[in-house]
Symmetry: C2
Subunit: 422 residues, 2 copies
């Protein structure tokens, strides 16, 4: 379908969906967190960034902060900075994440490695901590690295994977999980928010059900940390991992975090015995002895420069409050569903996320056979959602950096690309 | 001993060692690489930085380069940068290190993880690739993380560690190694340059001896890459790991690299099956299948911002030529030994490195019971060597960023601190 010049003018003016446009304006005007939108770096040519659930945007002051880091901390304090600040950075940053986003007390969280490596360490440690149990329960739709890592470990330690088959839209329920766990279950590994559907699992109830079966519970928080509040301590979570480059805006490949409940720390032991987990890192003695406490999760030297980005974002989330961040997140995804109903449903686009805001994280997914092409075209126009094979588009709406109006621009652009391709 | 005002004046003027001072000036004037000294960021208050073997200095253009990265690659291209450049970055950077510093063809090196994690993957993979052999040969004085990681693996796979006992000054000889390897040896793990003495191992001969015994050979290149030329391909090295934050100036905790010889890549398999090592990373299918080639060493998302620093340094080494870098390195360590003889030997300081330049890497170590205190004092004065428990000072002389005159200032400062403490 070729667009007429009149239609193009009306589209650009946003008046093909006047109700949605005024609703977006109203919601943005009433948004108590709107003042934070200007904290992020400008992105020339980007009309709508809808992928904050994959790579959060940098804060505007990052270039100056990193320049100062290079000039002062690295370039002038040089090796002295290890003593002065960097040795403790993995624990300090871990505590900060725990306090701002995890509902966890200090001394249980560290920042290090990639999510995959941290998963490997924690799953290995957990399985070894439950001798006599030889099954790992994991969600069939879990993020690939979780499944691949768990499958590799099952193969090497002689354990069996048992699959939870969740609903594609609403995710894993307590009943799904109870049907699979049992006296042979050493560990349950689930994602708090599903990377495709955005389904939000009931962490408290599922953790309790794992414990009822005598199993340990490991949560992958990659798609929930920084956007969905949680109470790891109160809910008795045993182990957790998460990304810092999504809603914590740490920058591409910023290191993961790992959480181990205090009471468990004496009874688990991770397999990669690098010097950073040694009782006295600089004694350099003949025998390895693990340090007590959460530091034992470390292996090698952490990538300090890649740990700078998340610090400002944690401050911002702390200032806004994770509860307010969640409220805005719900407002954004609710609005996106409404825009979907009006603009995309008539074009045979499927909604692959639940309409129940309480059962959803910070993104929604929509499906259409043309979405691979559409994504390609949108990227060229500066409208940036995330494509997931085979035909999904994720609209990731990072609450502090995204407005309702930007969300609408994105949905309108998807609509226009579908129409143009007919 | 309290210093007289006259002595202080003469010391500050550097005329307590007039021969050494004029020799340093002569060597610096004749240094063909002297023009590169200005490529590094200024370090206000730092009189002598002698720890480039532990943390290389940032290049002067790093703040602007990183600012551009944050503004453009991360902040504006956003998620599109993964497709445009970052997905291939671990291999592209690996190839660059291979070409500039390893004497290795493309397709055998990746940048990822910490050295400790990369060691874990490679040692696990190597031991599994030699079924029927149950011994790992390792140097008793190897860097702690190498020993700890190897010991942990030996415990988990039921292998035995066999220790090579090297000479404390000259390091591991071929004969030392031949005395220990045998038909049960799966793998030999040695450091190319010893982290304490700086002893340089004969990589070609030792690798050949390992192969004679049917074992695989893994070299830890942390203390040699970027300062000592090598020919991994020609010498038949099987596996290698190395740091990028020492002589490659990648910044604190910049990720490690791993090398696997092409011919071996089909027969080894590392244990951390993250999505980055999957045959099709975005297929996200049910089963894990490793990608062929060197990419199989990856596990999770690499820390991109921590991969920026090394790029400029690799360009600089490439421009200077690794042979010229080595020549200057020898000139610097030779000069440091001469300064030691004149200024420190009379104060009962021991030389813990060989006088044979051909058997030495880029640093020398000296010992004295007061060195823990001395280091503390020197750091406060902006003279920054590295202290190694119990009583060693390492003088790490990174060739492109260090002059003979700076080296002398460092040795004179050590002398003065010893005298002042008497």
């Amino acid at each position: 379908m070729t667009e007429s010049p009149e239609d193009e003018h009306r589209r650009v003016a946003g008046i093909l969906s006047p109700d949605l446009a005024s609703e977006a304006a109203r919601l943005d005007a009433a948004d108590p967190l709107a003042r934070h939108l200007s904290a992020f770096a400008e992105a020339p040519g980007v009309t709508a960034y809808l992928d904050g659930n994959s790579l959060g945007r940098p804060l505007a002051d990052m270039p100056e902060k990193v320049a100062q880091f290079i000039r002062d901390d690295w370039g002038t304090r040089l090796i002295r900075s290890w003593d002065e600040q960097w040795m403790e950075l993995p624990m300090r940053l871990g505590d900060r994440i725990a306090s701002v986003a995890l509902g966890a007390a200090a001394g249980q969280t560290v920042v290090a490695d990639s999510t995959s490596v941290m998963l490997y360490k924690l799953i290995r440690a957990a399985v070894a901590a439950r001798p006599g149990r030889d099954e790992i329960v994991i969600e069939a739709g879990n993020f690939p690295t979780d499944r691949f890592i768990a499958a590799g470990i099952a193969e090497e330690v002689g354990a069996t994977l048992r699959w939870v088959e969740p609903d594609e839209i609403t995710g894993v329920s307590v009943d799904d999980m109870r049907a699979v766990v049992g006296e042979r279950t050493a560990l349950v590994v689930l994602s708090h928010v599903d990377y495709r559907s955005g389904a939000l699992a009931d962490m408290a109830s599922i953790t309790a059900a794992a414990h009822d079966a005598g199993a340990l519970m490991l949560w992958d928080l990659c798609h929930s940390v920084g956007v969905v509040p949680m109470q790891l301590d109160d809910w008795g979570v045993d182990l957790a991992v998460g990304c810092t480059y999504k809603y914590l805006n740490g920058g591409p490949g910023s290191p993961a975090f790992g959480y181990v409940r205090s009471e468990l720390q004496d009874s688990i032991r991770q397999p990669i015995h690098g010097w950073w987990s040694a009782a006295d890192i600089f004694a350099m003695g003949p025998e390895y002895a693990p340090v007590p406490g959460i530091r034992q999760l470390l292996s090698g030297t952490p990538p300090v420069m890649s740990m700078l980005g998340m610090q400002g974002m944690l401050d911002l989330i702390d200032e806004a409050g994770i509860g307010a961040v969640r409220a805005k997140s719900i407002s954004l995804t609710d609005f996106a569903v409404r825009a979907y109903d009006e603009l995309l449903a008539p074009l045979d686009v499927r909604l692959l996320s639940t309409r129940d805001a309480a059962g959803r994280g910070g993104h929604i997914t929509i499906g259409h056979p043309s979405f691979q092409r559409v994504t390609q075209e949108l990227w060229g126009q500066g409208v940036i959602p995330d494509f997931r094979f085979p035909d999904g588009i994720r609209l990731g709406l990072s609450p502090l950096s995204t407005s309702h109006e930007e969300t609408l621009r994105g949905v309108v652009a998807v609509r226009d690309a579908l129409l143009a391709g007919r």
